[in-house]
C-alpha cells in the first residue's frame, strides 16, 4: 500500500466501499472459499466414524476413485447426456427463436408455452416424464403401441433422460437467443433482401455469425450445466433401476457416496475430479472462443 495520504473524499469512499462489500466478501469466504479448500482437504482424508476426526490418507481416495470403473462410467454417462442435451437443446431453441422473430399471430402464446418448463421444479417434471415412460402403463408405449423399457434398458435410458433434459431447456435457450437476435441491426437483412438473398442464405450469412457471441455463451453455460446434471437423473433413476450404472451422472454418484453412504472423503474426491474435468473443458472452450466467435 502506498504511503500517500488519502484525500478526505478518497478516505470516505474507502470506508463506505469496504463497509458495503464486507457482508458479501465475508459470506463468500465462509460459504464458498473455505468450503472449496475444505473439500479438497477432505478428499485426502478417510471420513472418521461418529465423533472421531478425519484421518489423513494421502492419495488413497483419489486412487480408488480413479481406478473404479464406476467413476469413469459415470463421467462417460454425463458426457453422453451432454451430447444429447446441449446440441439438440440449442438447435431447436435457435430455430424457434428465429421463427418467433417473424410477424405472427399468437407469438406471445408460443413463447410463454415454450418457456413453461423453466418455471417448473425439475423434480415434478421428472415425475411426469417417468410416468410417460412407464413401460406397462405409460402414455408413450400405449400410444405408439410399443413395449420399450424407456428408462430401464441400459441402451435406451440415457437417451430417454437426455430427451427430458432437452424438453426442459429449450425455452431457456430460446429466450437468450431471442434477446441476441434483437441486437442484430435490421438494415443487414434489408440490404440482403434487396440483393435477393433467400431466407436460408440470410440465416447462414447474417444471423449465424452475428449471433455467435450469444450462441457461445449458451453453449458454455449449457455444457457446464449438463456436466453437473443431477435432479432429473435422481428423480427418474431409482436405486433399483437396472440401467442406473449406465445412466447415472457423476454428480449423482457424488451424492450417493457423500450423502447416502456418508463416505465424505470418497465423495469429496469425486467432486474434485469433476471440478478438474470442468476446468479442462472450460479452458478448451476459452481457446475455441477466440477462433469461432465473431465480435463486431
Amino acid at each position: 500500500m502506498g504511503k500517500k495520504k488519502m484525500t478526505p473524499s478518497q478516505k470516505r469512499q474507502a470506508i463506505w466501499g469496504w463497509l458495503f462489500i464486507t457482508p458479501t466478501m465475508l459470506g463468500l469466504i465462509i460459504l464458498n472459499f473455505y468450503p472449496a479448500v475444505n473439500t479438497v482437504y477432505q478428499a485426502f482424508c478417510k471420513t472418521g466414524d461418529f465423533g472421531k476426526g478425519n484421518v489423513f490418507v494421502g492419495f488413497k481416495n483419489f486412487q480408488s476413485v480413479l481406478t473404479s470403473g464406476e467413476t469413469w462410467q459415470s463421467l462417460w454417462n454425463t458426457v453422453k447426456y451432454a451430447i444429447i442435451e446441449v446440441p439438440l437443446g440449442i438447435v431447436i431453441a435457435l430455430v424457434l427463436a428465429v421463427l418467433l422473430q417473424k410477424k405472427l399471430a399468437g407469438k406471445t402464446i408460443f413463447r410463454t408455452l415454450f418457456f413453461l418448463p423453466m418455471v417448473c421444479a425439475p423434480a415434478a417434471v421428472a415425475m411426469v416424464w417417468k410416468w410417460l415412460y412407464n413401460q406397462q402403463f405409460g402414455l408413450l408405449n400405449n400410444l405408439l403401441n410399443t413395449d420399450i423399457a424407456w428408462i430401464s434398458d441400459p441402451d435406451i435410458a440415457w437417451i430417454s433422460v437426455g430427451i427430458i433434459g432437452v424438453w426442459s431447456i429449450i425455452g431457456y435457450n430460446m429466450v437468450l437467443f431471442i434477446a441476441g437476435l434483437q441486437e442484430i441491426p435490421k438494415d443487414y437483412y434489408e440490404a440482403a433482401e434487396i440483393d435477393g438473398a433467400s431466407g436460408l442464405n440470410q440465416f447462414f450469412n447474417i444471423t449465424v455469425p452475428l449471433l455467435s457471441p450469444t450462441t457461445f455463451f449458451i453453449v458454455q453455460t449449457r455444457i457446464i450445466g449438463a456436466l453437473t446434471v443431477f435432479d432429473l437423473m435422481f428423480m427418474v433413476m431409482d436405486k433399483t433401476n437396472l440401467a442406473l450404472n449406465k445412466t447415472q451422472s457423476i454428480v449423482y454418484l457424488f451424492y450417493t457416496y457423500a450423502f447416502t453412504n456418508s463416505n465424505r472423503g470418497y465423495g469429496a474426491a469425486i467432486v474434485v475430479v469433476l471440478v478438474v474435468f470442468i476446468m479442462i473443458v472450460t479452458f478448451i472452450l476459452q481457446k475455441l472462443e477466440k477462433k469461432l466467435v465473431f465480435y463486431n
Binding site: 470516505r12 466501499g17 472459499f33 431447436i92 413453461l116 423434480a123 450445466g225 470442468i278
Partner: protein
Amino acid sequence: MDSMSKRYAVNKFFTYIVLIVMAVIMLVPFVWMILTALKTNQEAISVNPFYILPHNGWHWSNFATVWKSYNFITLYKNTILFILFRVICACLTATMAGYAFGRLEFPGKKLMFSLVLIQMMIPSQIFIIPQYLMVSKLHLLNTTAGLVFPGLVTAFGTYLLKTSYQGLPKDLEEAAAIDGCNIGQTFLFIMLPLTRSAMISLGIFTALFAFKDLMWPMIVCSSAETTSLSAGLAKMQGQYGNDYPAMMASAVLAIVPMIVIYIIFQKQFVEGIATSGGKL
C-alpha cells in the same frame, strides 16, 4: 398471386406447422399430468382398454386427498419462507456490494472483485459437503435457516448489480453531493432506485433457483415437515411412487403456484432471465 407473396404464404404455413408441433410436444406432459391426476389409480393403470380421459368421472377430490395426506400447507409455507429469505438476502447484500464495486474507489477493490469472479467459475458442488457440515454443527438441520444458508450472499448477483450500477450516468454522484448527500444517502435514495430492473432480475433468478433446487433441501431438510416442495416430491415418490394419480396431483400442486406467478409477471420473468443470463 405473384410468386413473392406465394412464397411468403408457404413460408408462413410451415412456420406455423413447426410452432404448433413444438407446442404440442411441450404441452403433452402437462396435459397428461393433469388427466392422470383426475383418474382413479385403477383407470391410470388400465391398459386394455387404455383411457386417455378419466373414465368414471373427473376425480377432483384427488387433489384434496394429497393436499391433506402429504401436508402441502407445510410444504408451501417452507418453500415460501425459503424463497423469501433467499431473495431478501441476495438483493440486500448484492446491491450494497454491487454499488461499491461499480461506483466507489477503494484499496483492494480489484482483488476483492476477482474473488467474486472466481466464485462464479467454480462449480457449486465443491462447496456442498462443508456447507452441510457447517449447518449440521450450527444445529440448523431441518430448519428454514439451514435451507437459506448457502444463499446468504451471491457472487452472481453482485456481478449483475455491479454492471447495472456502472451503467448509470456519471454526474449523479456530483449532483447528489451538491445537494449535501453523503455516500450512504446517495446510494440509498438516488442510485438504488435506478437499478430496479436489475434487482427484479436478481429476485426472479434467486426465487426460481431456490424453488427448483433439489439436492440442498434433500440434504439439510430430510424430514417432510421442514423440507421444500421439490425435496418433498422426491420423498413422496420414494414412498408412494405407485399411486400414479396421487403422484401427478402432487406434481400439479407443486408447480401451479409458480406457473400462475410466471403468467402474471411474464414480461419480468423473460426479461429477467434474458438479461441476467445466469446459470439455472
